[in-house]
């Protein structure tokens, strides 16, 4: 079957399409990451939940806003100080407590408690300085706001312009205030830089290999719980492939067996299969999903954290719905093929019906299986998001669906890193699968209308 396909004209046409080859290369890259994660366990689900940064730290090498930087620095100092105080009160060794604060590779500096205390005091001093800077800037911003509003009311015919300051004066005032705000921002910036330097001495960035690992963990920022978005996003590649390939394999298998049998044997087989097909396609997709949510609620699969078994509801939902399309297509093709001369010739020689079906008919529909496989992978990856939103999706491990479903809360807080990374990675994978299935269709089935 495969050998014959390799010699076919369609495959040569497919290989000639440069863009399809590039897309295949990208799929290979994604697949390599999926293998690294899934087989070699480079990233474990535990990595995905561990705290690596303060909550909602921006990614993509973006510098956070001044307020965020202030908040983050205070967060670092505060948690070390809490542990020091706790150890002092209980008269216990502070080291194990400080080790709890480690952000994976980024541990609290190996300094004696007195030295740490000293650093913290220093940090609070600088922090107070920065705080004053913020107060000053807020006052300036208030003034600026008032002046802007006053300027705006000059244009309002209802207000009495005599009570307002003249326009020219206001303009000059605003300009002056703006410069002052800028200057004060500069001051805050320098205070924060000093503060961050102290923080780096309390909890220094790791160096060498550990440093590289830590950079990888942090370069896409963190979500609400402070866990790494990059780890989550890359782990999800494995989940996407797992969901896509398992679903597509099962559905193509069921679809091909039923479709080929229905078309080739006809009669009651055909009637039963077509009844099943029309029944399944008459249930609105989302309604079926909703019913499955209800069906699986509280069952073992709903509560288990086993990474494979917890996906059973998801596979059930996909397999119930997705085989229908493949079945229809294969049935149509087999109906055509079984009237061809070579099938009649095989029958006249006296081959059995099963032998003809497996040896002569199904191999000639292989291209459709490949096209459908590719389309089903796309369908599964995209639907996983919707299922996860409805509560039927991936549990116990990260997935793009979970990241995007979380996205609404994050976006409202102006944190686009989680939804952004998940969308971009998913977009890439779905896009290349789209390109490959288009190219497959063009190469093997040029007359087909999408």
């Amino acid at each position: 079957m495969i050998k014959r396909l390799a010699k076919s004209r369609g495959l040569r046409r497919f290989m000639r399409s440069k863009i399809a080859m590039a897309a295949l290369a990208v799929i290979g890259l994604y697949f390599a990451i999926a293998i690294l994660v899934g087989v070699f366990r480079v990233i474990t689900p535990a990595d995905a939940t561990v705290r690596v940064l303060p909550s909602r730290y921006p990614g993509f090498l973006q510098t956070p806003t001044l307020d965020k930087r202030f908040e983050v620095a205070q967060w670092f100092i505060d948690r070390v100080e809490t542990k020091l105080n706790f150890a002092e009160r209980r008269k216990t060794d502070v080291r194990p407590l400080l080790d709890e604060l480690a952000l994976v590779e980024r541990t609290v500096a190996e300094l004696p408690p007195e030295r740490l205390r000293q650093l913290i005091d220093e940090a609070w001093e600088v922090s107070d300085e920065a705080g004053e800077g913020f107060d000053l800037r807020d006052d300036l911003l208030d003034d600026l706001d008032d002046a802007t509003r006053e300027l705006a009311s000059h244009r309002d015919p209802d207000t009495d312009t005599a009570t307002l300051r003249p326009v020219e004066e206001l303009r000059a005032f605003i300009q002056g205030k703006r410069a002052e705000v800028q200057a004060s921002s500069g001051e805050i910036d320098s205070a924060l830089t000093r503060l961050e330097a102290v923080v780096l001495r309390i909890q220094p960035l790791p160096t060498g290999w550990a440093g590289m690992k830590y950079t990888f963990r942090t370069f896409l920022g963190s979500d609400y719980g402070g866990s790494s978005i990059s780890i989550n996003a890359f782990y999800s590649i494995k989940v996407a492939f797992q969901v896509g390939i398992v679903t597509a394999t099962i559905c193509v298998f069921i679809g091909t067996v039923l479709g080929a049998a229905a078309a080739f044997f006809g009669g009651w087989v055909d009637h039963t299969v077509m009844w099943l097909v029309s029944t399944m396609s008459s249930i609105p997709y989302l309604v079926l999903l909703a019913v499955l949510v209800y069906m699986f609620r509280g069952t073992y699969f709903d509560t288990t954290s086993n990474p494979f078994l917890s996906l059973v509801p998801l596979y059930t939902a996909f397999c119930l719905t997705f085989w229908v399309g493949t079945c229809r297509v294969i049935r149509g093709e087999v109906l055509k093929i079984k009237e061809l001369e070579y099938v009649q010739a095989a029958t006249s020689i006296g081959f059995g019906r099963f032998y003809i079906l497996l040896r002569h008919v199904v191999p000639n529909a292989t291209h459709l299986m490949f096209i459908n496989f590719s389309l089903l992978v796309i369908g599964a990856i995209k639907s996983e998001v919707i299922l996860t939103f409805l509560g039927l999706g991936v549990k116990g491990q990260p997935s793009w669906g979970r990241m995007i479903a979380n996205g609404q809360q994050e976006v409202i807080n102006f944190a686009f890193w989680e939804i952004g990374s998940a969308t971009v990675l998913m977009f890439g994978l779905v896009l290349v699968f789209n390109i490959v299935s288009d190219a497959l269709q063009d190469a093997f089935d040029p007359k087909h209308v999408t």
């Binding site: 009844w275 029309s278 029944t279 008459s282 249930i283 609105p284 989302l286 309604v287 909703a290 019913v291 499955l292 949510v293 209800y294 069906m295 699986f296 609620r297 509280g298 069952t299 995209k382 998001v385 919707i386 939103f389 409805l390 793009w400 995007i404 479903a405 996205g407 609404q408 976006v411 409202i412 939804i419 969308t423 998913m426 977009f427 779905v430 896009l431 789209n434 390109i435 288009d438 209308v449 999408t450």
Partner: protein
């Protein structure tokens, strides 16, 4: 003609019974009473609910009883919202769904047809290629991302930044057309397009953008295929202009598959887009169903599923009939 419709109906009745059978069985896999009352209900509570829905009877009796009640939409009372029937809640959920699904469907179909006509007219040229690349790119982004970002940039951000132009509500729904009780008795007709714009236009825009990618690609493929047919070559040979061929000869024939496709998306009118309704908090059919599922409101779920499946089957029949009507080549046998 009527014989054809009747035959289609008769053929689809076993299909419908099959769906109801599957769905009723699926809904009873988990004990509905336990789902609603928690793990340890008192025997009295249990008995009351079981009597209410006839759950104490054998499955086959329940099945027959349920099917007998479908024509009257008599699905019992809601468990969660005592005193309201499922039918009431069903009917109440229809207008919100329709008020954004109808415009979405119409706008998506019209814009997609225009875009695909442009694409097919310039086929093989940069315009066509750009449009098709855009369509593929658009198809590769998740539906949820469109909704979340659309809601953020369309409604949340303008409000947060206090722009003077922030026409959309972040979420919610208010009736914008219908009859309203007037103080002192009687009722009056009211119609407020601004309310519609506030609550429904943004979901419509998001829905149209999502549908555009798939529709445009399909319509273009249909049109391009039509363009290779013999009658187009004949028209060219007799000297008709390209524009006339595209808009008069080709479009008429291409409309057959297009109409079929639009018809197949019709159930969307009733089921609404569950996701759009959830995110924009529109109390339509989809959101009501999801709420019922979260509340474990068994009679509601069962009733909604039955209605959705019926609507779906009716549209399938309607599609076949219309297909036969617009295309005389299809034989009614």
């Amino acid at each position: 003609m009527w014989a054809y419709v009747l035959r289609k109906l008769l053929y689809n009745i076993p299909v419908y019974f099959g769906i109801i059978l599957l769905m009723m069985a699926a809904l009873r896999v988990n004990d509905p009473v336990n789902n609603y009352l928690g793990k340890h209900p008192t025997p009295e509570q249990r008995l009351a609910l079981e009597k209410d829905m006839g759950l104490d009877q054998p499955f086959i009796v329940q099945y027959v009883m349920f099917i007998a009640h479908i024509p009257l939409l008599d699905f019992g009372d809601s468990w969660k919202y005592e005193g309201t029937t499922v039918r009431e809640r069903l009917i109440r959920a229809v207008p919100p769904s329709l008020s954004f699904t109808v415009p979405t469907l119409l706008a998506a179909a019209m814009i997609s047809i225009v875009v695909s006509l442009v694409s097919a007219y310039y086929r093989g040229r940069p315009v066509d290629k750009t449009l098709m690349i855009l369509a593929v790119l658009g198809m590769s982004v998740s539906y949820l991302v469109y909704i979340i970002l659309g809601q953020f940039f369309g409604a949340f951000w303008p409000r947060e930044a206090q722009w003077s132009l922030a026409p959309f509500a972040i979420s919610g729904y208010e009736p914008w057309i219908g009859m309203k009780d007037v103080e002192g008795g009687g009722s009056a007709f009211f119609f407020s397009p601004t309310t519609w714009v506030t609550y429904c236009l943004l979901p419509v825009i998001v829905g149209v953008i999502v549908a555009m990618g798939y529709d445009t690609r399909f319509y273009r493929a249909v049109m391009v295929e039509e363009c290779t047919k013999d009658y187009i070559i004949t028209a060219l040979a007799k000297g008709a202009t390209k524009r006339k061929i595209m808009f008069v000869h080709m479009l008429k024939n291409a409309l057959i598959p297009i109409v079929t496709r639009v018809m197949t998306t019709l159930p969307f009118l009733i089921t609404g887009s569950i996701l759009l309704e959830m995110f924009f908090n529109i109390p339509g059919m989809g959101k009501t169903l999801i709420t019922a599922i979260n509340d474990n409101d068994f009679p509601m779920i069962q009733g909604f599923v039955a209605v959705f499946a019926a609507v779906m089957i009716l549209t399938i029949i309607l599609t076949d009939v219309i297909y036969a009507l617009v295309d005389p080549r299809v034989r009614l046998s």
